[in-house]
Amino acid sequence: MATEETKMICLGCPVGCSLTVTHNKDTIIKVEGTQCNIGIEFATSEIRDPRRMIATTVRVKGGIHPLVPVYTASPFPKPLIMKLMEELRKIELEAPVKIDQVVLKNALGTGIDVIASRDLPLAPD
């Protein structure tokens, strides 16, 4: 059972600590370089199941803009990001869109919703 060292930069907060994580596959043995617990949590998640917040847009019919910005309600599994983008390309909403409106429920079976990040009113006329 070989242990390995992975270097990463913590995304937990704007400080961006450089971490060295010693682990055996998914088992975390040691996290060095962190200043707080967020670093340990981040390192664990990054080794086992790396996730990112994803923000993009989806198309809207009849709104003041042709697109509404949306984002994942929580960090989304990294390997599925491009697939999520494909899913979202297929969606077209009808204006008006409300902030926090669910645009895609349980995206790709992850249990994570994609939600609108603003109101998008109807275009006048």
């Binding site: 847009t57 989806v58 198309r59 697109l67 390309r89 297929k90």
Partner: protein, 501 residues
């Protein structure tokens, strides 16, 4: 307003076809539009004023620089005198501020005498040699080592774009047909007479053809079988433009000239910007208007020699232009000069009005050149009957930023589109943009609007207005935004929609 543009197939036979809608071609079209002639003006680019006229120092030279006895000197002097009338009729900005040739240090002083003498011989009025003290008083930011200057009160500044558009627009208003994106390919020759031209848009018959092809004038004349030795060597000049708010000189400042050019100058524009340049580099490629590290460095060194307090931090734009330097010997045998203008109806072939090598001071000379063409055609037996309804006046369209607050108020009241500012740095309004899109020479590209309205020329260089202008062009022209371009086909801004399915 597009009524001015006749369908391409409506008329295939013209009295005169002019190749090239730079300032020279446009001015000729405008002067000839006075007569009962069917005139076609063709331009290979997507807009008029896309070559040498689009990138120069914007000066109406007084005329002390060209060698006495040259055609260049003659055209410069005559042209300079015509500018008050031309600018007045065409409603374009023109300020006869006068210009200085500045000597830095004692060594350069004798050059001023030489230029003064040349000016006297050329017939330049209102010149004066002034002391270093006087120059320092008039231009406080000048190099304190200034030892004297030649002052010429007839020097002026204009907006070359405005001049080019206005001349061309006036021509179109008076019945000239303008075809853009129409490139000359070959002559149709019958014996020793040109009877037509072939273009990418078809063949057109004509009795006269005017070669105003600028950088390509050598190719055109070679295709007509004349002046095989004539060659245009593009001479590149690079420039910096400075923020109007941060630096200003009162006037046009030339250094003492070198053999190849009038040198790197510091000047002000009618829009209030200071511009510096040009250097002079002979190149091969007639389309190479790229700016270079070396060129900009040379320009910078030359300019700070005149005005040491210039600060690169306030530079807002860079550009390079190509002068169409020819190699024609001066017709006057007593003058040893081999870069003179060619303005002629050659004997070897009939139906050609041939121009070439119209480099600086081409802008200043352009009305005189146009007048000279009228004369040459008369001499060749053209009757040139005047139209009764020729209108020399090109009305100006409102420029929001030049108006007083009271005038702005009235303008917006009458047309609310003038109330929306699209270019935040230069205060250009939607009303102005829409008016240009529907003008006699419709602005159909971003650059076409930029050069007519001065939009996008300020500090943010279009970062703010570009998406808005693309939207307005798309709406007014009824084209999808992806088809809106910077300067014609191939220069579209957008490649597709964000969400492709």
């Amino acid at each position: 307003m597009t009524k001015y543009l006749r369908s391409k197939t409506e008329n295939k036979n013209f009295d005169v076809i002019i190749i090239g809608a730079g300032i020279v071609g446009s001015m000729i079209a405008r002067f000839l539009s006075r007569y009962k002639l069917d005139i076609l003006l063709i331009e290979k680019e997507a807009d008029v004023c896309m070559g040498t006229t689009a990138a120069n120092t914007a000066i109406i030279h007084a005329g002390y620089d060209p060698l006495p006895g040259t055609l260049k000197a003659e055209m410069n002097i005559l042209g300079n005198r015509m500018w008050n009338t031309v600018a007045g009729e065409l409603n374009i900005p023109f300020e006869r501020r006068g210009d200085y040739v500045v000597a830095i240090g004692k060594k350069e002083l004798p050059h001023l005498d030489e230029l003064f003498q040349r000016g006297v011989k050329n017939g330049v009025p209102g010149m004066m040699l002034i002391s270093g003290d006087e120059v320092r008083k008039r231009e406080p930011d000048i190099n304190p080592d200034v030892s004297g200057a030649l002052w010429a009160e007839t020097g002026g500044i204009t907006d070359p774009f405005a001049a080019n558009f206005a001349a061309c627009e006036n021509a179109v208003m008076n019945g000239v047909t303008l075809l853009l994106e129409t490139a000359f390919e070959a002559f149709v020759i019958d014996g020793k007479r040109i009877v037509g031209i072939k273009t990418n848009k078809g063949t057109f018959g004509t009795r006269w053809i005017v070669n105003a092809a600028g950088l390509y004038s050598d190719d055109v004349m070679h295709k007509a079988g004349i002046r095989p030795e004539f060659k245009i060597t593009p001479r590149k000049g690079e420039y910096y433009v400075f923020d109007s708010a941060d630096i200003s000189v009162n006037n046009v400042l030339f250094p003492v000239p070198t053999v190849i050019s009038k040198g790197i100058m510091v000047t002000t524009t009618v829009h209030g910007n200071t511009i510096i340049g040009p250097n002079a580099e002979s190149i091969q490629d007639k389309e190479d208007t790229s700016v270079t590290e070396e060129g900009l460095t040379e320009v910078w060194r030359g300019a700070v020699k005149l005005v040491p307090k210039l600060n690169l931090r306030y530079a807002i734009s860079l550009f390079a232009g190509l002068r169409a330097e020819g190699n024609a010997r001066c017709k006057n045998q007593n003058v040893n000069y081999s870069h003179d203008y060619v303005i002629e109806i050659p004997a070897e072939i009939q139906g050609l009005v041939n121009l070439g090598g119209i480099e600086s001071p081409g802008l200043a000379s352009s009305p005189a050149i146009a007048q000279r063409i009228v004369g040459l055609l008369k001499d060749a037996g053209e009757k040139l009957e005047e139209k009764s309804d020729w209108n020399p006046i090109r009305p100006a369209r409102p420029r929001f930023r030049d108006l007083s607050k009271e005038e702005q108020k009235i303008l917006i009241h009458n047309d609310p589109e003038y109330g929306r500012i699209v270019c935040r740095c230069e205060n250009v309004t939607e009303g102005e943009i829409v008016a240009e899109i529907h003008s006699p020479i419709p602005a159909r590209t971003y650059d076409a609007i930029k050069r007519r309205t001065w939009l996008g020329t300020g500090r943010c260089q279009g970062a703010f207005d570009t998406p808005r202008v693309v939207g307005i062009l798309s709406r007014e022209l009824g084209l999808p935004p992806e088809q809106i371009s910077k300067k014609g086909p191939g220069s579209e801004f957008l490649v597709g929609k964000t969400k492709k399915v």
